[in-house]
Subunit: 207 residues, 2 copies
DNA sequence: TATAATCATTTAACACTGTTAAGCAAATGT
DNA sequence: ACATTTGCTTAACAGTGTTAAATGATTATA
């Protein structure tokens, strides 16, 4: 009986350790990418970083793609946190939209590597899988209520809202992509493009 | 003397053949990518397609990246042809801009693979090198005169024109990227977003 | 024409990559 | 004390880009 309890506790400890190395794998992967870029990420490098050999990774992830997929999942959750935070700071939908797209912009540059794997900017991976990720719809869920409120439209899946959402998204994502690719214009111009576009769209949908 | 002429001719014939297999390499690469995607492109597959062995490719290109770089160069030239064609069909800068961005859009989907390697959408390669490519500035050269004319600004490198160019480009490239990644909205909505955004920007800069 | 030099091409090899199977040694259950 | 499971490693496979050496045909030279 007592032995049973002890083994239960040790099982839990082991489970905790396993969870920990799972996190270590993800952390190591992200760190390598931040230091050397996506192209340099290899399973053996991850294994080195967590002081194991490569095959052990398959105890925690089905394959390399699964690691990237998990990173994009965490990316979407982190992005959603930032969006919610920005939203909570304002009451009017116009201000909310402006703050949220700005938060989106900042997220992309504060987490360049995550954004790359989330939206496939200059990295080749798992589009189809990412699209099946439920978390990939969090931005939609975050933005459309504000758009709907601003336009006084209740059906958040209507084509009108969809169109406006994609207009916002396109210009912001486009500008981010162009910058990540290094086709840099100056930061001043970036900021102005972003502000002009967002306020322009907001004005165009404000009744 | 005669012999000299003959050898000259044979040298030219050989040079022509070499140029031909250079083109064959590029064609084979693009065909493989179109059929199996960028991830599936390998030197040995290219070699197979042109009925040689892999190392022969290094007689024509410094490395794999150089092949991709040459494809993006050809991509920019092709894009420029389309832009010029669209431009030539109209006289007013507003109509020109609209037609050109539409041509840009069509190019991206008619040559999805080229667009991907040109702008790094879900493929990892050679950003820095592409940015040094002179041909990468052809779109800028194609668009800014119309923008300048429309805004009645002569200095095509002024910040105002730069800002407007990036605004156009961001929304179009963003929408393309999102679609290539498979985050598809319907074609109807795409078309509407594109038209709305372009005509909106044009109206906003028309005096 | 015979020999030397050059050229085009291939084979072999290296250091990587992701991934799987086999083995081993320590911890665990009986 | 023995059997079994577990954690982890070593070895291996098929593939990648890339380089060096070897081969065989073509060309130039004597």
């Amino acid at each position: 009986m007592i032995i049973h309890c002890i083994t239960m506790a040790s099982k839990e400890r082991i489970a905790r350790l396993k969870e920990e190395t799972r996190i270590n794998i993800l952390d190591a992967a992200l760190q390598i990418v931040k230091q050397e870029g996506w192209q340099a990420l290899s399973l053996r490098k991850i294994a080195d970083a967590i002081e194991y050999t490569a095959p052990i990774i398959y105890e925690y992830f089905a394959n390399k793609e699964a690691i990237l997929l998990e990173l994009t999942r965490k990316g979407f959750l982190l992005l959603d946190r930032e969006l919610q935070k920005a939203k909570a700071e304002h009451r009017s939908p116009a201000k909310q939209l402006e703050a949220m797209w700005l938060a989106y912009w900042n997220f992309a540059f504060d987490n360049k590597e995550l954004y790359q794997v989330m939206f496939g900017v200059s990295t080749n991976c798992c589009c189809e899988l990412v699209n099946q990720l439920p978390e990939a719809e969090l931005p939609w869920d975050a933005f459309t209520p504000a758009i709907g409120e601003l336009m006084k439209i209740e059906d958040l899946d209507s084509d009108v809202i969809c169109t406006k959402y994609y207009t916002f998204w396109s210009v912001v994502h486009g500008l981010i992509s162009i910058n990540i690719l290094g086709r840099n214009s100056s930061d001043d111009i970036n900021r102005q493009v972003l502000r002009d576009a967002i306020t322009g769209i907001i004005r165009s949908i404000t009744p």
